[in-house]
């Protein structure tokens, strides 16, 4: 067991740091949260810069234009870009981390040639059309219908929780193409152009006051069968392919950000004074923060273990479920402690006086989704219990 970085790891890190130090000051100002055109511009500009510097598709194989970085290099990449405050993957998320890898594995040569280079360059933005109002945790029961009509599918139905639908060019869409087959055997995965007539996008208002998610309504929208990836009715398997890519790096950015947040929380606690002592002098609060940091350190160690095992076995364990459950709930505790530190200062979403408090309060709200999105904590626990511990299905 070894925790040292190799010389080539350190060379990779140094080069990346250097590039970030030169590049980041040249970025334009971050657009406001609801300026979707601005956000697309900003995020895809970053993707373009990554591409030109040779860092786009860090985990993509080189044969598809990616960096083909080792897992440790991917860890370093995520650590360094997050620490330097580089733009988050943003609207490039689905393309680079979900649809792209699926296309790489399952699509035809033509489909790959058409989409992969464009995704890497930031020329193509993707969104995901998987969840539906009646198909959340039970995604397999999706009912958005795709009826075959000659060389087209006619699509009617509704998707929800589609991120960045407002600015996406393409949608990785799951449709039901066979209503008689068992539910997982009647689904098709299709690449849906977002400028197709017959769709309507309605932003969802989240409790955090943000609008990154939308409902998408399909009313007899027609899409060529040529956009299908994989065989008709084999879409469930195709969709699951992406989960096979997780190699333990999925939460690295989050861990970096949360470590930073804990440091910021210490600083905040030193500023908040009541009854002539600072919050940081409150033994109970201090102890709780120390406890949380100890658990965060443990998650870093767990990440490195998962990486090593993924590198060795090539197959990701359901270790991702453990990280998801633990990290999401730990992060919620960080924001809970922040609220305790702030007391009535937590009534405002903006900084109160001299306290840099606003972001903590905003994160308390935003962190609510962490135990729900991308597989609820309850589903993750089922996965751990059934797939790792071998406990029988209900």
């Amino acid at each position: 067991m070894d925790l040292r970085y190799s010389e080539s790891d350190e060379t990779f890190r140094a080069a990346l740091r250097q590039w970030l130090a030169e590049e980041l000051p040249t970025l334009s100002a971050k657009p406001s949260a609801h300026d979707w055109a601005g956000r697309r511009s900003y995020d895809t500009d970053w993707q373009r810069r990554l591409f030109e510097a040779g860092y786009a598709g860090i985990s993509w194989p080189t044969e598809y234009g990616g960096r083909g970085a080792t897992l440790v290099e991917q860890l370093i990449y995520l650590e360094e870009t997050t620490r330097a405050g580089a733009p988050y993957v943003g609207v490039n998320f689905v393309g680079t981390l979900h649809a792209g890898p699926t296309i790489m594995t399952e699509a035809t040569a033509e489909q790959k040639a058409e989409h992969l280079p464009r995704i890497l360059r930031g020329d193509e933005v993707w969104c995901q059309g998987f969840s539906e109002p009646n198909a959340g945790s039970d995604m397999g029961s999706l009912s958005c219908r795709g009826v075959r009509d000659g060389d087209e599918y006619v699509i009617s139905g509704q998707k929800t929780w589609t991120s960045h639908a407002q600015v996406a060019d393409w949608c990785e869409l799951l449709i039901r193409t066979d209503t008689d087959a068992p539910k997982h055997k009647g689904i098709t995965w299709i690449m849906f152009p977002m400028d197709t007539p017959g769709i309507e996008i309605r932003e969802i208002n989240t409790i955090a006051g943000t609008s990154e998610f939308s409902e998408v309504f399909f009313d007899e929208a027609r899409v060529p069968v040529a956009h299908r990836v994989g065989l008709e009715n084999d879409g469930w398997r195709v969709a699951m392919v992406t989960f096979g890519f997780e190699r333990g790096t999925g939460f690295v950015s989050d861990l970096v950000e949360t470590d930073r947040m804990i440091s910021d929380l210490v600083r905040l606690a030193r500023l908040v004074t009541r009854r002539s002592a600072t919050a940081w002098e409150d033994v109970a609060l201090r102890r709780e923060i120390g406890h949380i940091q100890a658990e965060m350190d443990a998650l870093w160690a767990m990440t490195k273990r998962n990486l090593a095992q993924a590198a060795r076995n090539g197959v990701p364990g359901p270790a991702g479920s453990v990280m998801k459950v633990v990290y999401s709930e730990l992060y919620q505790r960080v924001t809970d402690v922040a609220m305790k530190v702030l007391e009535r200062g937590g009534l405002a979403l903006e900084n109160v006086g001299e306290w840099p408090s606003g972001s903590f309060v905003a994160e308390r709200v935003r962190s609510t989704s962490f135990s729900i999105a991308a597989g609820t904590s309850q589903i993750q626990r089922n996965i751990i219990a059934e797939r790792i511990l071998g406990l029988p299905r209900e």
Partner: protein, 324 residues
């Protein structure tokens, strides 16, 4: 960076596991409760296998292995519920004559511990007293113990009568600090093993026990309890192994920080999983015969050793204070 076990480490773990399965099956472990927790011949066999001399140089009869290896060995010892003052004796190998070879059994106590409880009073040969000036050894025969009914039937305790003697100094303040960190790391290994064993026992029971026409492990509420047991254990596992690696290679990080994370997460995992294992067993978990209570009680016995959870949370906060 390859934070997975090396082939040698896998072999070490297998070796320790086999030894424990052979010499310390659960029936034997339970029998030891009636013998003061330690049988001298078994203790010597452990010494022969290298439990105490693992890290000593070959010249001193050791295997020249590292802390990461010792932590792995202790994880298996914890998993097997092997009783005895394993950590103190290991720490004193090379410092107290006879400890490495299994002839001298060593137990330890903080000088200012208000409980004044010494573990294994019936068999211990040397008691090490820790204070902020260092470590001091005293012959156990010089102490008088009032033996008390123990919480953990496999961790007998006796209250020292009268004042603790000064003892003979065997380590200065700096060495004592180091040994405390090392002791905490080894204890974390034991606690990790307890956490794992509790999870294994609960899962095995839940697959077997039928109610309402099916295995109780098929019910979500129990599944989720056990999923959390597993998750807790995995969180601790990374931290505990990292503490071992950091002790061997201080260049990779702060030892104090790594140990704080290891002791805190492994103690939480062992205690919570010990409780949850009993819960999963339902009424049977409340019986003496089911092993579950032994894991929980051992977790309680080990938690305060070399710093409580709160001590280590405070230490971590102190570290943050210097960094931020």
């Amino acid at each position: 960076m390859d934070f997975d076990l090396s082939t040698e480490q896998v072999a070490l773990v297998d070796g320790v596991q086999s030894f424990i399965e052979g010499r310390f099956p659960m029936a034997t472990v339970r029998d030891l409760a009636d013998e003061g927790g330690v049988r001298r011949d078994l203790w010597r066999q452990m010494a022969d296998m290298g439990v105490f001399s693992l890290r000593l140089s070959e010249a001193d009869g050791g295997a020249e292995l590292g802390w990461a290896d010792a932590v792995l060995a202790f994880e298996q010892l914890g998993r097997g519920l092997v009783p005895g003052p394993l950590v103190w004796t290991h720490l004193m190998a090379g410092i107290v004559d006879g400890a490495a070879g299994g002839d001298i059994i060593v137990s330890g106590i903080d000088r200012d511990d208000p409980s004044a409880l010494v573990e294994f009073p019936g068999v211990v040969d040397v008691v090490v007293i820790a204070d902020d000036r260092g470590l001091w050894s005293t012959d156990a025969s010089k102490l008088e113990f009032a033996v008390l009914d123990p919480l953990d039937p496999l961790t007998p305790v006796g209250r020292v009568r009268g004042e603790l003697p000064e003892g003979t100094q065997i380590a200065d303040a700096d060495q004592a600090k180091k040994l405390r960190l090392q002791g905490a790391a080894l204890t974390s290994g034991l606690l990790l093993g307890i956490s794992t064993a509790s999870t294994e026992l609960a899962v095995a029971y839940a697959k077997d026990r039928q109610q309402f026409g099916r295995p109780i492990g098929s019910f979500q509420s129990l599944k989720h309890l056990m999923a959390d047991m597993f998750a807790r254990g995995e969180v601790a596992r990374g931290a505990v192994y990292a503490a071992g690696v950091t002790l061997d290679d201080p260049e990779v990080g702060s030892i104090e920080r790594a140990v704080a994370s290891a002791k805190l997460t492994s103690a939480e995992a062992a205690l919570t999983n010990g409780k949850t294992c009993i819960q999963v067993h339902g009424g049977m978990g409340y019986t003496w015969e089911v092993d579950a209570h032994l894991y929980l009680k051992r977790a309680y016995a080990l938690e305060p050793a070399f710093g409580t959870r709160d001590d280590w949370a405070d230490a971590m906060a102190g570290i943050l204070d210097t960094l931020v």
